[in-house]
């Protein structure tokens, strides 16, 4: 048994020792321990160094609010986590832990020189110090700050763990499994409501776990607890331990993080490390209890100084005494009970110094009976001890005068500055707070959500009150759900009610300017820093917070906010509510990125859509590129080919003979109904009335602002039926836009829209031999140019499959697009590939598609347009039905800005020296103008063209369409490139090849 473990006490399993290491040394704890309790059982208080001054620090709390005992934990390769709270991490076999912020060792740390230089590091240090000279910033200041900043070290490897996600809907969510939460949950469950009870600890019970001497309904509190839990289970309550409510959002939406495996010696295969729960509850009961505050005085941060409630928890829950000879400094009754428990367990308590002049006589009597020296009306003014507290100096305070100090030797100092309700989740909902002048603390006031608040979370103290309050909250929740719940009451014996006061920093007989009286342990903020901030002009508590960093550490000010406010209010000469409290924001405790990501990592990071032909491309070794959510074959390299070579070969083969392309990702919309043509006329710029069934047309879609939104070829299948295609990325957007107009502007039209993007698989066949390939496969249709000219569409059979066949081209070659039901897509692809072997048919990817279309000057919406390009700008006036009275965007085409001269217009660019331009490169008209130059446009598309034997580019240039033949300049880092403005139709400008 470890030196400080008390046999027969605590809820740990004495028969189950667990080994672990801390800073390379092996220790033994017990099953049920946290790392903190196990280290304390071994007499280890020094667990870390502080962030700024590198002061030695020990554990202060026994819960998730711990500011000091942050450790690095490792659970095997890739499983290192910094800043784990030793008070939360449960012991498990083989756990490796290490302290942080120290070098070379925890006991001897070079960085502690900061502590000697503390005068330099006062509030606003960064703002004041790193101001000048400016040239020092890059070389001196930033490297210094970067080296000194950061808490713990970041993991360097990919997290091998999995994380899970759930959505949960319930009638009642109770947050906090202490006395109030349990009674609320049971009361609500008995009304028939679905109830979820969550608690961040490994077991339910809250403070009951630290108060075994209290008796409820004639039983010890632990026996009562066990009985309540079995009743909760029987009532169907979902009990979730190790589960932290991290955020409370609108309409009772609460985020929970469940720690699933970090406590297990051998996590089962596939078990997630953590699970994020999105809970939607009709009613929420907040029963989170209260957090103990430290007292602020010089030396209140030495290892061995801890909250009295924490010491009580270590004793009763873990069977660990935090020292042999403790002293207590308090302003609240609760610390007296902690002292009594320690003495009753065999430790010595030298003295209780209480800042209050008068304390309940029964407490004083009980202390004296235990041989504890009672010092009321006292302050603490110093502690001693380098790596562990050795003594505390206390002084009497009479009429505001601090008397002579006396030194009390101790190896543990228990402090208690009162309790503050855990207001965090309530504050997430923007619930308002009220200042309770008696207890000098904030309490929850006006609620914005359907919630109840019970127990110590609203300032109640003592199990009798808290249990009664929990029942009330349960009844209120049930009644809000329209259910009736019965009241029940519990009989509490040996209750420990108490009161206390909140204080600013304790008075001292020494110079307050030299006191290291810590308010925020984690960020090393002292009372002096807060007063300095006020002196330097900070008036709002939000400014004080940012100037001093008080409450901005990973513990989110759980222990420091109220103390900081007390001091700031005193410095400002105001009451605390007039100064106000800073806002608590989610998450309640530090939360891993993994928990937020859930299943979205690796292959399921985001959706990857695949076409029916994707498996073939993958088998052929295609290189893929993402296009919106799709992955598309980019190019099909042959052995030894790089991208450039592969694309050049694909381009050459398609123009010389025939190529094939998976166009399945194109958006497709079936527009059907008696008013289909009227709808098309209103949506698209083009005229549709005279388009005959069996013919198709390039369609251009604008927004009402007149800018190009989308385009695509649209076939009229019958008088009342259009087969609309959209860009790959625009499919959902276009359908949404069409539905919007149809449902809200033109509900009188008899027309319906159905997405058929995924109903069809689409294969484009392009090249002079395209017809010859398809003729072998097509039945029921004469493919000759006479019968089936360019821009035709027909239903027929291709390779034995029912098909919609389009004669269209996005390459400038003779082209067809075959649509078959998607389940046959791969079969169609293979059939065309086989039929094309005679003509060396070449599968090509999106890159070749881009090159071939650019050679023809066909635009890609979103690449050559950017949301500010009109049809005129893009040279697409011909696509506008001039005779149409109206269509979406028409009115904007005559707005002053749209008809103004010198708009950027889409043109071709050919470089004089034959260099390929970079897409996005800026264009200027006069390269010798002074800086900054006037930009005249930018390159939108640029490729090496095999057909033209040179690079080509498209660009938007100010007034470009009237600058044909002019020279523009593209300044690049290695010199300025000259280019000539040309038409975008680089290849076969007469379009002879289309008509083949």
């Amino acid at each position: 048994m470890s030196r400080y473990r008390i046999p027969g006490m605590g809820r740990v399993d004495p028969a189950a020792p667990v080994s672990f290491t801390f800073d390379g040394r092996s220790y033994q704890g017990l099953r049920g321990d946290t790392v903190a309790s196990a280290l304390l059982a071994n007499g280890v208080h020094l667990m870390g160094r502080s962030f700024k001054y590198h002061r030695p620090r020990g554990v202060v709390t026994a819960g998730s609010e711990e500011p000091n005992a942050l450790i690095g934990t490792s659970r095997g390769p890739g499983r290192f986590e910094p800043n784990t709270r030793a008070t939360v991490q449960e012991l498990r076999a083989g756990l490796t832990t290490e302290s942080q912020n120290k070098w070379p060792s925890l006991k001897f740390d070079i960085g502690a020189v900061n502590d000697r230089a503390y005068m330099l590091f006062s509030a606003g240090f960064y703002y004041k110090t790193f101001m000048w000279p400016r040239s020092f910033w890059d070389k001196v200041y930033e490297p210094f700050i970067r080296a000194a900043a950061g808490l713990g070290k970041s993991p360097a490897e990919v997290d091998p763990d999995s994380y899970a996600h759930r959505n949960l809907h319930t009638d009642v969510l109770v947050v906090g499994g202490g006395a109030a939460g349990i009674s609320a949950a049971l009361t609500a469950a008995k009304s028939g409501a679905r109830v979820v009870l969550v608690d961040e600890n490994p077991e339910m019970g809250g403070s009951l776990l630290s108060d075994p001497s209290v008796r409820i309904d004639g039983r010890g509190s632990w026996a009562w607890l066990a009985e309540q839990l079995s009743q909760l289970r029987a009532a169907g309550v979902r009990l979730m331990t190790r589960t932290t409510a991290i955020g409370y959002y609108h309409q009772n939406f609460v985020g929970l993080v469940e720690r699933v495996t970090d406590h297990l010696d051998q996590p089962p295969h596939g078990a997630p490390r953590e699970r994020m729960w999105h809970v939607r509850a009709e009613q929420v009961v907040l029963a989170q209890g209260a957090l103990e505050k430290p007292l602020v005085f010089d030396g209140n941060d030495r290892p061995g100084v801890m909250l009295a409630g924490a010491a009580q928890t270590y004793l009763n829950r873990y069977g660990v005494k935090v020292g042999d000879n403790a002293a207590v400094v308090t302003s609240h009754d609760s610390a007296w009970y902690a002292a009594f428990d320690l003495v009753d367990a065999g430790a010595r308590v030298a003295a209780i110094a209480d800042t209050r002049d008068s304390v309940r006589p029964d407490l004083v009597e009980a202390a004296r009976k235990r041989g504890i020296l009672v010092l009321t009306g006292h302050t603490a003014t110093a502690t001693e001890g380098r790596l562990r507290v050795k003594s505390v100096r206390v002084n009497p305070v009479r009429n505001g005068q601090v008397g002579a100090g006396r030194k009390i030797p101790c190896d543990a100092l228990l402090i208690c500055g009162g309790w503050t309700p855990s207001l965090h989740l309530f504050s997430h909902t923007k619930g308002s707070l009220t200042w309770d002048a008696d207890s000098r603390t904030f309490l929850p006031d006006h609620k914005t959500e359907a919630c109840q608040i019970a127990g110590a979370g609203r300032g109640l103290w003592g199990y009798g009150f808290v249990l009664e309050d929990g029942v009330k909250a349960g009844i209120a929740a049930a009644q809000a759900l329209g259910r009736s719940a019965d009241a029940s009451d519990a009989r509490v014996e040996g209750d420990r009610p108490g009161t206390g006061i909140s204080q600013k920093e304790l008075p001292t007989d020494r110079s307050p300017g030299k006191a290291k009286a810590f308010v925020d342990y984690q960020n090393d903020v002292t009372a002096k820093d807060i007063r300095l901030a006020v002196r330097e002009g900070m008036r709002s508590i939000e400014h004080v917070k940012r100037y001093t960093t008080n409450g901005m550490a990973t513990d989110q000010g759980k222990m420091s906010n109220i103390n900081g406010l007390m001091i700031a209010a005193d410095a400002l000469g105001k009451e605390p509510p007039q100064v106000g409290l800073t806002t608590f924001r989610p998450p309640y405790t530090p939360t891993s990125f993994g928990a937020f990501a859930g299943y979205h990592k690796g292959a399921t990071f985001e959706i990857t859509r695949k076409t029916p032909i994707d498996p073939w491309a993958e088998a052929q070794g295609a290189v893929f590129e993402p296009v919106s959510l799709w992955r598309r074959a980019w190019y099909f390299p042959k052995a030894g080919e790089d991208m450039h070579a592969a694309v050049a070969r694909e381009c050459r083969a398609t123009r010389a003979s025939v190529g094939m392309f998976d166009a399945s990702t194109l958006g497709k919309i079936e527009v059907a109904g008696p008013d289909a043509v009227e709808f098309m006329n209103r949506m698209y710029t083009n005229p549709w009335t005279k388009l005959q069934p069996g013919r198709c047309r390039y369609g251009l879609l604008l927004g009402e602002d007149g800018f190009i939104r989308d385009d695509g070829v649209i076939g009229r299948m019958s008088p009342d039926l259009f087969h609309v295609t959209t860009t790959t990325g625009g499919a959902a957007r276009v359908l949404n836009m069409m539905e919007d107009y149809l449902q809200t502007e033109w509900p009188d039209l008899d027309v319906w829209l159905t997405s058929t993007t995924e109903q069809w698989a689409t294969v484009a066949v392009n090249g002079p031999n395209a017809r010859k390939v398809l003729e072998k496969l097509v039945e029921g249709l004469d493919l000759s140019d006479t019968n089936f000219p360019h821009m035709s569409v027909a239903e027929c059979t291709v390779a034995g499959l029912p098909a919609r066949l389009f004669r269209i081209s996005f390459t400038g070659e003779l082209g067809f697009e075959v649509n078959v039901p998607a389940r046959h897509g791969l079969q169609l692809w293979k059939a065309i590939h086989e039929a094309g072997q005679q003509y060396d048919i070449c599968p090509y990817g999106t890159e070749t598609m881009h090159v071939l279309r650019a050679e023809k000057g066909y635009i890609i919406v979103g690449q050559d347009t950017d949301g500010t390009v009109t049809p005129q700008d893009a040279g697409l006036d011909w696509a506008i039905g001039k005779a149409k009275k109206d269509f979406v965007g028409k009115r904007s085409l005559s707005r002053p800005d749209i008809v103004a001269p010198n708009r950027k217009q889409l043109v071709g660019l050919l470089t004089e020296d034959g260099r390929k331009l970079e897409e996005g490169a800026q264009i200027v008209l006069d390269p010798s103008q002074s800086l900054p130059m006037t930009m005249a446009g930018h390159v939108t598309s640029s490729y090496d063209s095999v057909a033209l034997g040179r690079p080509i580019a498209m660009a938007v240039v100010t007034g470009g369409l009237s600058r044909m033949g002019e020279t523009v300049h593209i300044p690049m880092p290695d010199g300025t490139i000259r280019a000539t403005i040309t038409s975008t139709n680089f290849y076969d400008p007469a379009g002879e090849r289309l008509k083949a």
Partner: protein, 176 residues
């Protein structure tokens, strides 16, 4: 007390890909619903989420003017639609290949769905259905029994949905 025991579950739920079957999207104005239902010999429920089954044809009302129809024999439906069109304007579009249907069944089928569906699936009555979300994919969910669901997923989204369900399967098998 720290729990170190957990129960492995070899088959928390079952995922099957159902074979191809004819499927249609039917759209008609609500005021013409009854007439069209009569003409096509279908029962077209009026409330979103309601289903009907008659003569082997299943219908799910997805929106106030939208129904998904599973008709093993497509020909009569198409013929009826063509005949009724002039009198009762509507749209009947075949979407048999657009979605692929997964069947999820078994003791934890509902749990598996709660990993991706934000709406309260447990509150959906058996025998109803809805278009909703699974992860970021739009799906159509059919609840056939308490722990028996069909989920129609757009074809290209299926690999993602299945990969998620595979992860969930591994997770649920672990018993934690």
């Amino acid at each position: 007390m720290t729990t170190q025991r957990h129960d492995f579950d070899p088959t928390p739920f079952l995922v099957e890909e159902l074979p191809w079957a004819p499927r249609f999207s039917l759209r008609v104005r609500p005021e013409n619903r009854a007439a069209l239902a009569g003409a096509l010999g279908l029962e077209l429920p009026t409330a979103v989420g309601q289903r009907s089954t008659a003569g082997g044809v299943e219908v799910l009302c997805l929106g106030p003017d939208e129904w998904t129809i599973l008709a093993p024999d497509a020909a009569p439906l198409a013929a009826g639609s063509g005949a009724a069109y002039a009198q009762i304007p509507h749209s009947l579009v075949e979407i048999s290949d657009r979605e692929i249907t997964l069947r999820l069944s078994g003791a934890q089928a509902l749990t598996a769905l709660t990993t991706g569906c934000p709406r309260d699936i447990d509150a959906m009555p058996v025998g109803q259905g809805a278009r909703t979300l699974f992860d970021s994919a739009t799906v159509i969910l059919w609840r056939d029994d308490r722990q028996d669901f069909r989920m129609d997923v757009w074809r290209s989204f299926l690999p993602h949905v299945r990969a998620l369900l595979d992860q969930v399967m591994v997770e649920l098998k672990s018993g934690l």
